[in-house]
Symmetry: C2
Subunit: 342 residues, 2 copies
């Protein structure tokens, strides 16, 4: 399979991206890479760092989509950026999937406007795989759609189920609705209406509302929410963990006695921290567009980026898109409740 | 001052509530207590446990509002519960403030329907004081109003500022809008519209949007949000901290070496945990009703409940209600954008 890689996306591009690609072609025998970006720079950086470009081809793109640029510029002033070229290449059949570590907003624009939605899907979602206490779970949506309607959340539930079953191998994914209480009458209007619709869906295993305090404890495999709330959940995960780790560090550095104690358990603490670090999971698929598009973390190093390529390969192999397309009838059924003109 | 206490609210009622009241009358010289609940039980439990009822009076209430009961029953089948009697007593001038550890939903019903809103205030809010990395902050609203309009969030900002200034002594409270990006164009429709209105308010120190990942780092003193999102933030705080603590415990118990290391820093870890435990902050005021109503944690022990009485006393002394009433003109100005008929 051919995986298109935006060689100039992310904090450590292009060096770590190229290193990650080299690792991936060695690790995954069936993977070939199509790099997009400035060809001379790619060749120069590879040569200087002894990176082999075997099983890789380059499609030249002179520009770079910077992180601070408005996402909409992707199809305007930055249509010759490595990201825009990668998206067009994917759309035109030049590869089976795409992975990039660039701006999430710009990748969403590319996925939606260039790769385009699967027919019948109302909105693509950004849906990271998060570390839970015992098993990982998918958070869908986590920022692609700030304002959602109930039928959009139903599609997230269905698409998330397909992904977790096909890619993560969960036999009958438990779908939970992120809410502020477990009873079906809890929450805002969006949640109350969504609860009813989810209860009626035959093709998912809806386990009801899940409270935020239970989300980290792996109580379900797919956590369904609007993009605003999902982003708050994602970033609270990050913020609280970071604040707490900071407090632990203060304790560990407080005295010589504490420093010695910390040193003796540091190895185990590092393993624990890695287990909890969602960047280790490689990133987040955009679900609902016609071809696999995978967002790697902006801070990806070579190894994390190699993992992201592996996830994208799995996304392609499992034919998630095909399975979603086959379910389009189901989605269109959910559409009956939707507003006109969409 | 007279503080009304629901003697039968919370997991540890009435014993820990009575103990907490005894501690409070000793600790705060100007505080008298009015207990509501079954008089015979209160006297029996006090006698059996050697609790002095000095500076306390009892107003008999035969029923108890159970946690699992629908909040609306407070004014119906449970109108003779200790909570309902406490709320009516407060409303009729039988005390200067009220503190209870019973069901949050039922207390909200009581605060709204019995104590009633301050004229001009659209919605009362539940607004806990949360531990931040360096300084605590108020989260307003955190569950009283799942569906909010922009002008409601503006009032939360104003009322939260008054409280943090008057009770917590913050000179010029920094008000932040919880959002999914820092730019003013970020977020859902509610956030975009609220951002504009908050920017125009003269009587608050609006510092812009705050991302969820920065909330634990004390980047502002008042975090403004709708009750749905606020509840998600509150419970993510709890859930992520709890999951992470669990992981640390696993590491600490993994081997004899780790157990020894953990034992030597356990004292400092306990202090840290206490700093982060928001139940130590005593609870959450309901802001926007005519008299001070304070929600203590359901799991309050005697000491935590005593702290909650102290917070309620401060709420009364600082005349937060008076200051909000004086600002009513400002609130009514914000009302011009509201729907008719409210």
């Amino acid at each position: 399979m051919k995986i298109i890689v935006d060689a100039f996306g992310g904090d450590n591009a292009p060096l770590d991206i190229l290193k990650g690609c080299e690792m991936a072609v060695k690790k995954y025998g069936d993977v070939q890479i199509v790099l997009t970006g400035d060809e001379a720079t790619i060749r120069k950086v590879s040569k200087e760092n002894g990176i082999s470009l075997s099983k890789m081809e380059i499609v030249h793109a002179p520009d770079v989509m910077a992180m601070e640029e408005h996402p909409n510029q992707l199809t305007k002033s930055k249509k010759n950026s490595s990201m825009a070229v990668a998206m067009r290449l994917l759309s035109e059949g030049g590869g089976d999937g795409l992975v990039g570590a660039g701006s999430t907003g710009a990748m969403l624009v590319g996925a939606t406007l260039i790769v385009k939605r699967i027919k019948g899907v109302k909105r693509p979602a950004l849906s990271p795989i998060m570390p839970g206490d015992t098993t990982p779970f998918m958070l869908i949506d986590c920022g692609a759609n700030a304002d959602c309607r109930p039928e959009m959340l139903c599609q997230f539930a269905q698409m998330g189920s397909v992904y977790m079953k096909a890619v993560a191998g969960v036999a009958n994914p438990r779908v939970g609705l992120a809410n502020i209480g477990t009873e079906e009458t809890k929450g805002d209007e969006l949640r109350k209406e969504t609860y009813k619709l989810l209860s009626e869906l035959k093709n998912i295993n809806f386990v009801g509302n899940v409270e935020a305090r239970d989300i980290p404890f792996s109580v379900c495999d797919v956590v369904v929410t609007d993009g605003f709330t999902g982003n708050i959940i994602l970033k609270m995960y990050e913020g609280v963990a970071s604040a707490l780790m900071g407090k632990f560090k203060q304790v560990f550095k407080k005295s010589l006695k504490n420093k010695l104690a910390a040193a003796s358990i540091m190895g185990d603490l590092k393993i624990m921290k890695k287990d909890l670090d969602y960047s280790e999971y490689g990133g987040a698929p955009f679900i609902g567009v016609k071809k696999p598009v995978f967002k790697a973390h902006g801070s990806s190093d070579a190894k994390t980026f190699c993992n992201a390529i592996g996830q994208t390969a799995e996304f392609i192999r499992a034919d998630v898109i095909g399975q979603i397309e086959q379910s389009v009838g189901v989605f269109e059924k959910a559409d009956e409740n939707a507003e006109q003109g969409e």
